[in-house]
Symmetry: C2
Subunit: 340 residues, 2 copies
């Protein structure tokens, strides 16, 4: 496969490398991810993360394994293993469903490579289309709040919610971005802060517990977040803490905006109740950077939550926007063509 | 002065020692706090913390300095310096106002000692009275959620909100306590988790971003928190994140309970808007245990917020409880005698 480079994925010498998102921002470390075991390990440890990026990394690896001579059966097994590596983000499943179709073509080696590169290219275009559509909803002088990381690290392009913010910043409309640090793994404090710094966007880091207080003081104009899966009725599964923000946004009359490619919308699940929500090891709460921060106790670590559609003002996709989402509007959206 | 020992204060050999609350739970380290400079340093660094405890430690130090031969003028200056060491918790000011009265008595050395010991003794009794009154409001099988630390570490007695939980546990009524880790300084994860472990109360640690999600799942019966200052209308200033919990409790129909001695009620401030809220160095968000967890960025660090009275179900004090607090009920409460 040709050499390829995104913010956090690299193909060189027929090997896949990932930018270790657990080492950022202290260290910019590229790790080999050229076997299924290695990539699944990176995905489990969140060294590769972000709903779109997980799917793209798995697709690239399959293509590289095919080029290296793996049989169709071996690739089918690899695909299933990768597909099961994280349960909530549906982009992984969607991307691998497309890779599976390529796998059953007669000439599956070039088909898989072409499909993986097409997914990468599409993701970049999706990000651009989404960012343009979303940025139209950002008013000049906006003080926006975001949670987790939805930028260039999480996608092959400019990102989803953070892509909107990046484009709105280019348009001169961002006064400040409040960055939730996003416990337990601090994707906001480590990754979003780093990306906004690189982009030159003005921002301030806050703890996840401060958002309501800022809203009460009138310092937040809108909340912009990504999504790991969106149900047919518009309910949104996303990083733990998203729901709490949505409740507080509603209480304070602050707009709550969700940004995701339409591949995040899963019409096969009726509502958020049916979305499988990953729980992770409670030890993620007990240590930071290898240092103990709590006694050796039982910790509860659900890493996603569901925000009901009725707390959401707008869902922005590459097919356009849905205001006050419901099942009918979501179904209608899926039939639209991509924006240009 | 006689030898004295509480969970986190010690007088021995006419010196004051404090249990370093930044070193817990990894290390149980007692630090000398026998000068104004030393104690103010400990208060600023939150090595001594908890609204009641700050006031008690300052009062004990004044008494010890008087016994060591300091003049009335020197003590008056020391008192003013200690009084200004933290702006939000009103117990510090209240305790030192009582010490000031003792200072102007002719025989001020024994008067200061007697007053400091009386404050310690009163705090223990207050905690007991509050815990009994509060525990009557806890239903059998309760799953409670608490924020920050309000236990034996923060007072001379069993604590405020955590005292209620401790007594309710003795009564066999606690099924589980959800402990907010309480960023940025992790008083929940480090201190409350440690205290509940010592008391044998069943609990699970969570991040501050998980509370709403637990409430939506029906896993929280009530939220119990302390207070740093309560305005005349019942608005409550407390650790950052308290307000966010209150908004979420209201949204989910979960009871929201505030526990504090009546000395926390400041009738001189009409509403929460008039309570001075401390902001601390943003670097508290950037490092944990000396390890960098974010780029070197601008972080916003308001350490308290205000919960309006209309989000509060009950305020529990040693004078009894106030349901759905307002100015008239708060004034009435202050005229009551202490419960027995």
């Amino acid at each position: 496969m040709q050499t390829l480079q995104t913010t956090s994925l690299r193909v060189a010498g027929n090997q896949l490398f990932i930018l270790d998102q657990q080492a950022l921002p202290q260290e910019k470390r590229w790790l080999d991810a050229s076997t299924v075991e290695a990539l699944v390990g990176h995905i489990h440890a969140l060294r590769v993360r972000g709903a779109p990026l997980i799917g793209l990394s798995a697709s690239l690896l399959l293509a590289l394994l095919a080029e290296a001579g793996k049989s169709r059966d071996e690739l089918a097994l690899a695909l299933d293993t990768l597909r099961a590596s994280r349960p909530t983000a549906v982009n992984l499943m969607n991307n691998l469903d497309r890779m599976k179709q390529a796998l059953w073509q007669e000439d599956f080696v070039p088909a898989l490579s072409a499909e993986a590169l097409r997914l990468i290219d599409e993701d970049k275009q999706l990000c651009d289309a989404i960012a343009r559509a979303g940025s139209e909803l950002v008013k000049p002088g906006s003080r926006l709040l975001t949670h987790c990381n939805t930028g260039g690290l999480a996608t092959a392009g400019v990102g989803t919610a953070l892509g909107v913010i990046a484009v709105a910043h280019q348009q001169g409309k961002i006064a400040n971005v409040w960055v939730d640090e996003t416990r337990p793994l601090l994707q906001g404090g480590r990754l979003t802060a780093w990306e906004l710094g690189e982009l030159g966007v003005p921002y301030q880091l806050i703890t996840d517990s401060m958002a309501a207080s800022l809203m009460a003081k009138g310092l937040v104009d809108a909340v912009w977040v990504g999504a790991d899966r969106i149900a047919a009725n518009g309910d949104v599964a996303n990083k733990i803490g998203t729901y709490q923000l949505a409740v507080n946004a509603m209480h304070h009359g602050v707009r709550f905006m969700v940004v995701a490619p339409s591949s995040t919308i899963d019409l096969s699940v009726d509502s958020g109740e049916d979305i499988p929500l990953e729980e992770r090891d409670g030890r993620e709460l007990l240590e930071i950077e290898g240092r103990r921060i709590a006694p050796d106790v039982d910790a509860y670590n659900p890493v996603f939550d569901v925000t009901p559609a009725d707390l959401i003002d707008v869902i922005v996709t590459e097919k356009g926007i849905v205001e006050r989402p419901d099942a009918a509007k979501m179904a209608q959206l899926m039939c639209r063509k991509r924006l240009h």
